[in-house]
Symmetry: D3
Subunit: 63 residues, 6 copies
């Protein structure tokens, strides 16, 4: 019954997120021998100003 939270800087397209959900679920299923239907993947998209890397918001590092 694996539950996955993925935190990303905002930006990926709907297609990228859809393929990420599928590939992460398959990776979990394969490596843990867990049935696909039990896996949940929750994406948290974070604004660049709210994601701090090395003490700075990502919006200042990669403007």
């Amino acid at each position: 019954m694996p539950i996955v939270h993925v935190h990303l800087i905002e930006g990926p397209s709907r297609e990228q997120k859809e393929s990420m959900i599928r590939e992460v679920s398959q990776a979990i299923s394969r490596s843990l021998a867990s049935p696909m239907e039990r896996i949940r993947v929750i994406i948290h998209e974070i604004p660049r100003s709210d994601f701090g890397i090395a003490g700075e918001p990502a919006s200042k590092l990669h403007p």
Copy 2:
């Protein structure tokens, strides 16, 4: 000092979320003998496209 994070697919009304906060807090208080004023409940509403179930976004399963 219980801290609760609830992750939901977006959609519930303001009244539903308000009653959920109250009922979950009471459930925690009752079962753990914890004073209500110490309990925090944080709701994370997740878009259907960002909540993966069995390898697919919920937006494809229940369009």
Copy 3:
């Protein structure tokens, strides 16, 4: 498909945690009209030394 994470200071008995899982799940089910079988509740028990309240570990506040 609600997913709940509860963070507690360590200590509750197995019976308290079991009744908490049941009561929180019922509270979510009732307030959000969500089927019980879709609800997940994950308990994170935190040592007193690792739970900070007002700048101090709980182990110093309630020794």
Copy 4:
């Protein structure tokens, strides 16, 4: 490689969040002897209606 999630009621300005990211990262770096460039801080801004305190949404407590 510390990873920090900060959950706030929505409202702080961009400048406040930027200084919070910097100061929290420095606090972690100093107290754990961890290099700044390894630290990540993710801010989750929560609407007042979705942050429950003592069984009530913050929007009812501090309207």
Copy 5:
């Protein structure tokens, strides 16, 4: 800079967890075009008594 938290019922072997970390990281890297070295995966192993499914701890469902 994706950060992934995986919550599992305790039990997988060290080898299974190692291959899960690798495969999930590759899945994220591929689907989001994100460099491997920026990806973090944190595993939270949860005791069966602390993982509630449909209102019951997993320890009662699959004893």
Copy 6:
């Protein structure tokens, strides 16, 4: 009412964690003008084998 979760590779001493709780709480209080008594800091210590960096567990990178 800020709630902070810090995820660390296991290892820091009790004194380091105590000073981290204090310094992070002060950093939050200062930057967000939030009263100390409302701040919570929860530490999640993660075994080296369960913390993946760039696709490998930290136990393999820094044995």
